[in-house]
Symmetry: C2
């Protein structure tokens, strides 16, 4: 019960920074004495800090402002991209403490080699002069949510990797909670928290692969086992090319970054953007073609799930000015409800950084959901690395 009340109080402060103890009591329905007691424990644990004496009016003497502590436990986000590694530390308030990105082609390395690099990056982050309260790991693959096992990552060529177990073994994570998840899902959550302005949307991230995060009523819909959102492997053309997943005609093969670059005759997204800015016809044609296939697959998503908004993330966020027109035309033609409910298309606010930001943010949310684990020696509610054998 105390654990539940601690989370209530901490989230009330997170939702309305600068609240007084009396404000928190009013919002949570707890007594002022209970709130004061819990707040004092969270100040001692550096989850909460006091600010100025609040000047707002109201009965009784003014209270002291309460804020989440910027020096409290941080969330560490890790992203294993197809062609980069990234980490990011964010504090309880969501502010970014540091970010690190290393371009590296993980497709040509074994999982063991990649995980050794990831472990090194994590140890570097752990050596920062901040407390780390939890770790989120984003991967371009299908992760079983209950176990943290990666079942398959077609674009990395990985199968059956015990990601949570391996990271726990290699990176001295002690009893930190470790959340492993699909990059597209983390990216969608990051956009939700960043205030995309709707609680119902599909976020589609374009990088080497294409993934979707489905957000319904402000929550992630990831399916029964966590394997949902695989829009990259939705068929758009039965005569299309064979895909890394073993199927044929997948969206990823026709609208993925590599195919767009190939059709445009360039080798990097920056080069593509330069050509688009110069109205190069091969570049424009390549992006319009990708937009149409993307529209076919997204029309299927909207026909099935009745989501009013599409958010373009990853490389698609940068290409949004060119994708937008043909994508909307395709949606308007193919979505049965489009005549009276036009679909909104928005560029993601966080772009290519969304996944690692969402992974770090998920670690922060886990702290906010279970503050007593950082105050006392109570059992954590999130999955943690096994303690060392005694």
């Amino acid at each position: 019960m105390r654990s539940h009340n601690s989370a209530l109080v901490l989230n009330a402060i997170a939702d309305a920074p600068g609240s007084s103890r009396a404000d928190v009591a009013a919002r949570t329905g707890l007594t002022k004495a209970t709130v004061s007691n819990l707040v004092d424990r969270m100040i001692t644990a550096d989850l909460v800090v006091e600010g100025a004496v609040a000047t707002r009016s109201g009965p009784g003497r003014p209270g002291t402002e309460l804020h989440l502590s910027p020096s409290g436990p941080h969330g560490l986000g890790v992203e294993i991209g197809v062609d980069y590694l990234a980490t990011r530390l964010i504090d309880l308030t969501g502010a970014v403490r540091n970010r690190w990105v290393q371009p590296i082609d993980n497709r040509v390395l074994s999982p063991t080699r990649v995980l050794a690099r990831v472990a090194k990056a994590v140890r570097t982050a752990l050596a920062e002069e901040v407390r780390i309260g939890g770790v989120g790991v984003a991967v371009p693959g299908l992760i079983e949510s209950a176990t943290g096992i990666l079942r398959v990552a077609p674009n990395l060529g990985w199968r059956e990797v015990d990601l949570r177990g391996e990271l726990c073994r290699r990176a001295d994570l002690g009893d930190l909670p470790v959340l492993v998840g699909n990059e597209a899902n983390f990216a969608a959550l990051a956009e939700l928290w960043h205030g995309i302005g709707t609680r119902n949307f599909v976020h589609v991230s374009g990088e080497i692969g294409i993934g979707a995060g489905i957000v319904v009523d402000g929550g992630l819909f990831e399916g029964v086992r966590g394997f949902g959102g695989e829009i990259g492997h939705v068929l758009v053309d039965p005569r299309g090319a064979v895909c890394a997943c073993g199927s044929r005609g997948c969206l990823e093969r026709l609208a993925g970054q590599e195919e767009i670059l190939r059709q445009a005759g360039v080798s990097t997204p920056d080069e593509l953007l330069a050509r688009l800015a110069a109205d190069d016809s091969a570049a424009v044609t390549a992006v319009v073609s990708a937009a149409r296939w993307l529209g076919v697959a997204l029309a299927g998503v909207v026909n099935l799930l009745d989501l009013p908004t599409v958010v373009l993330g990853g490389t698609f966020a940068r290409l949004e000015p060119w994708l937008r027109g043909p994508l909307i035309a395709e949606l308007d033609q193919r979505v049965v409800s489009a005549d009276w409910s036009p679909i909104q298309v928005l560029p993601a606010a966080l772009g290519a950084e969304a996944a690692v930001h969402g992974a770090a943010g998920s670690a922060v949310r886990a702290i906010l959901a279970d503050p007593d684990a950082y105050v006392t020696e109570t059992l954590r509610e999130s999955p943690v690395c096994a303690p060392p054998a005694t």
Copy 2:
């Protein structure tokens, strides 16, 4: 509060027919006095009947068995099919009191003509010697759940019909709750209640059109406005034929009943089944082709939503022995998670009757959720026809 408690008590009896008042008190956490009081009121209102004195052991004297009343308020299901009208009355226990089906090509009639026939069928049902407690109306189109307005029904050629309003005006429904919904959604609910054995599945109904009902954690997922499940208009072949919805290459055009019959060179499902039983090669080829396209669209659903089970309903239930093999082959090839999580394919238990059964069952569920509306003059919680102006 009493209204909530009435629903708790009635649902406890529904879930465990034959329970005593003491059993119900134990299951709901209410006092025996409260349960007895509520049960007595529901017996008076003929929602509950007493049976034999329970013989089960336990402390205290044995109680009397309680059952839902077979003579209590019934749910009336109505289905406006593309080529038939149907009604069905079921009692509180789910038993079918009567069923009526009229083959009629509703595509060639105006909505006004069809609604006049529907109203006549509803008045006939209302004249039965049973109480009717609510009405569910199943339609092959997109219904806005908040208003009961049909936005579009491509296979009927209908647009913007205020179905709930029209039925209320035409069928003397008084203050009966009226639920209007998509036929595929009602069919999926009927299969769920009938015990398909999983609480996570996609139910795909094949008739003239093809619709899906998505069930997640035992609840219908119908999207933000109720327009979800439109699998019939998911693209499976960009070079496919133009569809009634205005798009091209929709599943419905390649795997709908009319296309299967056309390819098989027959004119009715019964004829098709006779040819299949005789191993007629045109008939088998037509069904195998439909199975493959169905597999393409369903693989997209499973890749997006990670649902472990596909239920084949409507005409597809009868064709299941022929659809099954090629459908599973397509799913296994196209679903990214299929290697370690094979998808289960089941024929629907209720077949072509599922939608009207689900509509009637939804009306019954609405009664069970709001029993006080049948006991006292309290306001109903479901949308009802407006009372006559005073």
